[in-house]
Amino acid sequence: MLLDEKGKLFGKISIIDIGVLLLIAVLMGGVYYKFFMVDKNQNAAKFDTIEYKILVEEVRQQSVDAIEIGANIYDVKTDSPMGKIVDKEVLPATDQLTKADGTMVIAEKPERFNVIVTIQVPGVETEYGFRANGRMDLNRESQQVMDTRMIILETKIVDVKNLSK
């Protein structure tokens, strides 16, 4: 009999134990997929060079200075390399302001800057988008933590393209 009167498979292993085993297997598979799995065809030789731009908003001069061209970017959770800063463009920070008379203006915020940081990273382009190192999705308007050895900042991705095409 497949299941006996005690709910044991072939009279040996409890069906609940089997369920727990399957749960563990699924959990371990999920962890492996999340942290170690990369897309197919993504060994280093097949990576393209993906260039993406991130926007750092309303930071002060100290933060601007700490964003260094040539600095490596790391994944904030795993410290895996996620590319290199190749350029930065510093702009005055601005915002919409409604004046007392009801009109709207774009006003500059003194001593605050927006920085557009250009990053290059080995990655893949698929029909679904771009993945840095085959792991991290790069989507315009999505939030990204820029983590170098000297600075950590919340940023927003504003552009992404494949330089190898």
Binding site: K8, G11, K12, I13, S14, D17, V20, L21, I24, L27, M28, R60, Q62, S63, D65, A66, N72, Y74, D79, P81, D95, L97, T98, K99, A100, T103, V105, A107, E108, K109, P110, E111, R112, D147, T148, R149, M150, I151, I152, L153
Partner: protein, 165 residues
């Protein structure tokens, strides 16, 4: 003796499912340890002296006066040592306000309030991705709750210098 007996026990002693659950618990504990404690010392390339600025905003004069060169600074959350005060500078606290009549942003002084920048010196472990002081990653933009002799507050790292590099 069979490897697994009629009751599903390994060598007749340990239930195979219990063993797997135990392994899962050990793996989770190991993962938690790596996430919270393991990253700090991994890939240490060298140790070096670092000097960093830590800014606390909008405090009163008594708070500024209490900060003294030579004070040991601790992370008040984790209790780790974050270095020693080298110097301090203070200025009037400011706020970025909206001038709705003229449609612009202005920086306004806050009466009887100060922004203080504490310069802290510490020994650090240097990895490719991080500068680690007392087990904590210290970099521009990082927020800490600090505690000195008779004072405690929160603030941000605003400048980071690796001495000798």
């Amino acid at each position: 003796m069979a490897l697994i007996d009629g009751k599903g026990r390994l060598f007749g002693k340990i239930n195979i499912v219990d063993l797997l659950i135990l392994l899962l618990i050990i793996s989770i504990a190991g993962g938690v340890y790596l996430i919270f404690f393991g990253r700090s010392d991994k890939q240490v390339v060298e140790t070096s002296k670092v000097v960093y600025d830590f800014e606390i905003t909008n405090v009163n004069k008594d708070f500024v006066d209490a900060i003294t060169p030579g004070d040991p600074i601790r992370d008040s959350t984790r209790g780790n040592e974050l270095g020693t005060v080298v110097s301090k500078t203070s200025r009037n606290a400011t706020m970025l306000n909206e001038d709705l009549i003229n449609g612009r942003y202005v920086i306004a002084d806050v009466p009887n309030a100060y922004d203080v920048v504490i310069t802290i010196e510490a020994k650090a472990n240097i990895t490719p991705a991080n500068i680690i002081v007392g087990g904590a990653e210290v970099k521009v933009g990082k927020k800490f709750f600090i505690k000195g002799k008779g004072y405690a507050n929160q603030g941000f790292v605003t400048k980071m210098t690796l001495v000798g590099q």
